[in-house]
């Protein structure tokens, strides 16, 4: 799993879990630190990320080169999304949209 995968159009985020995708979505409109990320994700997805899950996902995304830490203010490290992170998020959202459209179509065809 690498940055090359997302460049090749593969949905890398599908394999790294929902928390990572939500973090990237949250960082898409600007840098945030841990607490701000938890609050934002709670608001946008109704999901309360545990702090252990949050740091695990942040480390994973940083290793993949999808986010990068900014200089710390006080003890907090804000993170920002990188160009390859934005590309991976776009691929993931496109894939979700395709699946979502197919699901809605099938529901309509099935008359449910």
């Amino acid at each position: 799993m690498s940055v090359q995968d997302s460049k090749a159009g593969q949905d890398v985020l599908r394999r790294v879990g929902e928390a990572s995708a939500l973090i990237l979505i949250s960082l898409a409109d600007g840098p945030k630190h841990g607490y701000a990320l938890i609050q934002d994700i709670k608001q946008l997805a109704g999901l309360e990320l545990g702090p252990g899950t949050l740091y695990g996902a942040l480390d994973r995304l940083e290793r993949l080169g999808f986010i990068e830490p900014m200089p710390a203010d006080d003890r907090r490290h804000p993170y920002r999304i990188t160009t390859s992170g934005a590309a991976a998020l776009r691929v993931h959202l496109d894939a979700l949209e395709r699946v979502s459209a197919a699901g809605r179509l099938r529901l309509r065809l099935g008359g449910i």
């Binding site: 630190h33 607490y35 938890i38 545990g50 702090p51 252990g52 899950t53 740091y55 480390d59 907090r76």
Partner: protein, 139 residues
């Protein structure tokens, strides 16, 4: 006024992380725990989340750990090769000793190492015909 601190349970959970992780995220994680407690998150659930995170952190293979694993595998392979070579070298003299003390089972003797040169002219090839000193039949 004293700065609020995470509970002992959370501090213990944070201690479970590898030192490298604590150096990087330790202070921020403790501060985040305090903020979450102020927001009303139960300290026990924060501690459980950190414990699970610590377990994942230890179990996730890192590039450096992967290198160590590869080095250990190579070392183990080298050791087993050396052991196999050692066994072979100790087995060869033993077999040689067995054959030199041949008591003879009548007709069955190991092939003689002395080749008898001969030429099969009709076929146009030079051949070395090996004739067993004892029997022509192999045992």
């Amino acid at each position: 006024m004293d700065e609020p601190r995470p509970t002992r349970l959370i501090e213990t959970a944070l201690q479970c992380y590898p030192a490298r992780w604590r150096r990087r995220h330790g202070d921020e994680a403790a501060e985040l725990a305090v903020l979450l407690i102020i927001d009303g998150t139960p300290p026990a659930s924060i501690a459980v989340s950190y414990l699970a995170g610590a377990a994942r952190e230890w179990l996730t293979p890192r590039p450096s750990r992967r290198m160590i694993t590869v080095a250990c595998a190579l070392l183990a392979a080298a050791c087993s090769l050396a052991a196999a070579a050692g066994l072979l070298t100790s087995a060869v003299p033993a077999r040689a000793a067995n054959t030199s003390h041949w008591h003879g089972r009548g007709h069955c003797r190991p092939a003689s190492p002395e080749p008898v040169p001969g030429v099969i002219a009709a076929m146009g090839h030079s051949h070395v015909i090996t004739r067993e000193a004892g029997h022509d039949r192999s045992c």
